[in-house]
């Protein structure tokens, strides 16, 4: 729902929209920000703008961050379609952080699904007003007029007026009521769902003109590089900067206080070296001598920690979902199958490490940063600096990858603290080493699975337990259970099993834990789908047929959800028909059961719904005689409902196959005495062209269902499908990641 207002004559308009003659504002009402009191007070806070200048230039505010998923392009494309604008005449104005835009946290694969309807509405409203303006000029009925890109056309006479020519007349009109604004029928969409759509920033990207956070500058800024505590929570006892200050270009060092728990998005602490270029700051850092205090987290050793997680996973945990009576069913017997799965921490390793430029001046802050969440920047800086969040003006650059890392603005807070102390703009640049050693890591996880198989091969009971340090530990050091994360592939198993229980055991954190693309879905799908394949073998069934049997007949599964999830389930019910459909497509496209498999070759499948999108993936592997795994082919079928930019969606799922190959083949972060063992791409490899899947085929299901996520849901099925393929190829089960831990 949007409240749209004609704000053409308002004086507060600035930036790119100031040139607009005809300007529409809208209050984007998202459920997270909607309050009855704001509605009752009748306060109109225009937060989304569409403007048309008299030269016809259309400017649309992009309020979501762009990290490669395409939302900065997709949402304005929807506005342009309903406005019937010529896309080549559309410019984007990236919004600063401000709660008036609604939720700007570009995570959870929800940009399009949360804002699709509002974008259509504002575009369509603009179109109606332009038609009304033209009809008045021609003294004809608006009903006799239509549009073609950037023109209103009078059908009978063929007369035309350009949007630019009509802008000032439209600016004087009242905004039509929602009922008076007809949205285009799907058949008339010019951009939504069409192949031609390309990223708005594509020309700038290929010519090197695109400005990422790493490229932002401010006049008079200095460069800073921070030596962080090796172990989370360590404080500086003392430090010696004599040698550092002798490095040419280094001007100063500044100690940054270690956070007080919870760490949240506060600076880690450490010593910043200030210099007049990045290289000098890095050299100065190498010359620092720092004596660190102790930290309770220096007990963190990954090998021992794993044993603790696994021991917990063998004990009863907190029940996340219960169907029937698992214990009674196990007591009745049947063939019992048990398996344990383990996945390590992962680092995001976006190609652009964290970076920010901040200028603190008289209690007000100007920020340029590659952030997924400019409002979190406002809140964090307000809290760290003791100022009002309205006084934090956060500009969002393009992000050189995000994957969840850049929704945590700790590096922006570092730059802010330094700028306040130095009285000038500061650019904080994290090295790759900082990025990998000081990440908000994807959780390490241990999962225990047990099932009883009946005479027909189907499970009569299925128990699953997951244990991992929760993301909530970042905000509450006492948090041990992942209550808020059970919806990420754990309390919503879409299988037709009469007795099922999902549990979660407690775990302590010792590093910062955070969201990484698809979050807990990654290890949950790994355990569930590797286990499903093990059961298929135990039942002596074909894995695809067995998976379809597990999913069972086409139906809507009621997960008995509450609150926001229940609301969401009304629009996005868990529909097993859609899951079955993508399984069928992926299997068919891969030639499942027909494809000739030589020695060391095999196919594996997994299907997982996350971020409301149904995905099935078949991976083909070739294991060579040295035990090295190659991935010649991946076939993915996607039902993401209505899709705005199909080619970009394919790109997301191709990328997910590669991201999945990275984590399955190599991804592992470990700690020794609290210190992270990996620090750059030589010991934390990501898939290169010669190891990534050679060919990934993405099939998008044509659908008129509401749009669902596309940035994340491609990832969860990749690792289990890959490991199931390895079993098919070699007869060896992989129950832990990365693959390098298993001798093939």
């Amino acid at each position: 729902m949007s409240l749209i207002e004609n704000v053409s004559r308002r004086r507060f308009l600035g930036g790119a929209l100031a040139t607009g003659v005809f300007v529409l504002g809208a209050r984007v009402v998202s459920r997270h920000f909607w309050t009855d009191s704001a509605q009752a007070a009748g306060v109109f806070q225009p937060d989304l703008f569409l403007s048309i200048a008299d030269d016809g230039t259309v400017t649309v505010v992009a309020a979501r961050s762009e990290m490669g998923c395409g939302s900065r392009t997709a949402l304005p494309l929807v506005v342009a379609d309903e406005l019937d604008a010529d896309w080549s005449k559309v410019k984007l104005d990236q919004a600063v952080g401000d709660p008036k835009y609604g939720d700007q946290d570009t995570d959870g694969s929800h940009s399009v699904r949360s804002f699709f309807d509002q974008m259509r509405q504002i575009g369509a409203t603009g179109r109606v007003m332009l038609i009304t303006a033209a009809a008045a000029q021609w003294s004809v009925s608006a009903k006799d007029c239509t549009t073609e890109p950037h023109f209103v056309v009078h059908r009978a006479s063929g007369r035309k007026l350009g949007y630019g020519e009509l802008a000032s007349a439209a600016a004087k009109l009242p905004v039509p009521k929602k009922e008076e604004v007809a949205l285009k029928p799907r058949s008339e969409w010019r951009y939504i769902g069409k192949e031609g759509n390309a990223l708005f920033d594509l020309p700038d990207i290929v010519t090197g003109k695109a400005i990422f956070g790493m490229d932002a500058t401010m006049p008079g800024m200095v460069y800073a590089s921070v030596e962080h505590p090796p172990v989370l929570g360590q404080k500086i006892k003392s430090y010696d900067d004599k040698a550092a200050l002798k490095v040419a270009g280094v001007t100063k060092t500044v100690a940054i206080e270690t956070f007080k728990p919870p760490h949240a998005f506060q600076p880690l602490g450490g010593v910043a070296v200030i210099a007049d270029n990045t290289w000098a700051a890095l050299q100065g850092r190498k010359a620092l001598k720092i004596d660190w205090d102790s930290s309770p987290h220096s007990v963190y050793n990954s090998a021992e920690y794993r044993k603790t997680l696994e021991a917990t996973s063998r004990q009863p945990g907190k029940v996340a979902r219960n169907v029937g009576d698992v214990d009674a069913a196990f007591a009745k017997g049947g063939k019992i199958v048990e398996a344990e799965y383990y996945t390590p921490h992962l680092a995001h390793a976006s190609m652009e490490p964290p970076v920010a430029v901040v200028d603190y001046r008289d209690g007000k802050v100007l920020v340029w940063a590659p952030t997924q969440n400019p409002q979190a920047v406002q809140e964090t800086l307000a809290s760290v600096l003791g100022i009002k969040k309205e006084d934090v003006n956060c500009h969002v650059t393009l992000l050189g990858g995000g994957f969840g890392r850049k929704s945590k603005p700790d590096q922006v807070a570092e730059a802010a603290v330094l700028s306040k102390q130095l009285g000038k703009p500061v650019k904080v640049v994290w090295t790759r080493e900082d990025d990998i050693r000081c990440d908000y890591f994807h959780s390490v996880a241990a999962m225990y699975m047990k099932a009883a198989i009946g005479a027909d091969g189907k499970p009569t009971a299925w128990l699953q337990r997951t244990v991992y340090p929760p993301i909530n530990s970042t905000f509450d050091p006492a948090a041990k259970y992942a209550d808020d994360e059970m919806g990420l592939g754990w309390n919503n198993l879409p299988f037709d099993i009469p007795n099922h229980r999902a549990e979660n055991g407690p775990a302590d954190f010792h590093v910062r834990i955070g969201w990484l693309r698809s979050v807990a879905n990654v290890y949950h799908a790994f355990a569930i789908h590797c286990f499903a394949d093990e059961l298929a073998k135990a039942a002596n069934k074909d894995p695809v047929q067995y998976l379809l049997d597990l999913i069972g007949p086409a139906r809507i599964i009621d997960l008995e959800q509450k609150g926001d999830e229940a609301e969401e389930a009304k629009t996005y019910p868990l529909d097993t028909a859609r899951l079955r459909h993508v399984v069928g497509i992926a299997a068919e496209k891969s030639g499942w059961g027909k494809r000739p498999m030589g020695k060391g070759r095999g196919l594996g499948i997994a299907a997982h719904r996350s971020f409301l999108t149904y995905v099935a993936t078949v991976v083909e592997v070739e294991v060579d005689n040295k035990g090295q795994v190659h991935i010649p082919n991946v076939w993915t079928a996607v039902d993401a409902g209505t899709v705005v930019a199909p080619d970009n969606v394919r790109n997301q799922f191709e990328g997910a196959a590669s991201f999945g190959a990275s984590l399955a083949l190599f991804g592992e972060i470990t700690a020794t005495n609290g210190v992270i063992d990996q620090n750059n791409f030589h010991n934390y490899p990501i898939a290169r062209m010669n190891r990534a899947p050679r060919h990934t085929e993405v099939h998008i299901v044509e659908s008129e269902a509401p749009p669902a996520g596309v940035g994340e849901p491609g990832l969860p099925p990749v690792a289990p499908a890959l490991c199931n393929a390895i079993f098919a190829a070699t007869g060896k089960r992989v129950r832990e990641l990365p693959l390098s831990k298993t001798r093939l």
Partner: protein, 149 residues
């Protein structure tokens, strides 16, 4: 004083001769199309051309570029067939690594007018893309090869 050329223009530098070319380009010359990714020649985001050959500017010290002709992405003009192919195939996602990928691909096509898949894999495996656009990169290089042939 180190004298060299960047994108055809004469330049000189009298700072730390150990400073990597990357940081000179970005912080001193303001040519930010060349990216920092690892600082260890592991990712290729910083790829530029030295006398026409692809090098990693993050591990090339300023003293090594004395007398050299450096070309960065900003110096590729008019639009190269590789850049056109990148746009037609819509390779990028986030785009951060792509200037390095493009510089590497241009150097490859200069050496090898019609690279096979294997040639491309060998030449491009030093360039990481966390978004995972490799399949499109390979396709774009084949397409650019056709156009330059």
């Amino acid at each position: 004083m180190i004298r060299f050329k960047v994108n055809g223009k004469d330049r000189s530098f009298d700072g730390d001769p150990e400073m990597p070319l990357l940081w000179y380009l970005r912080d001193v010359a303001g040519l930010t199309g060349t990216k920092y990714g690892c600082g260890m020649s592991l990712c290729g985001a910083c790829t530029v051309h030295q006398n026409g050959e692809a090098i990693r500017s993050c591990t090339t010290a300023m003293k090594e570029v004395s007398g050299a002709e450096i070309t960065t992405i900003e110096g590729i003009a008019p639009l190269h067939p590789v850049q056109k192919a990148w746009m037609e195939i819509k390779v990028p996602q986030c785009g951060y690594c792509q200037t390095g990928q493009i510089m590497q691909a241009i150097a490859l096509l200069k050496e090898n007018k019609k690279p096979s898949d294997e040639d491309i894999d060998t030449a491009m495996s030093g360039n990481l893309c966390r978004c995972g656009t490799y399949q499109r990169i390979r396709a774009a290089i084949h397409q650019a090869a056709k156009e330059t042939a």
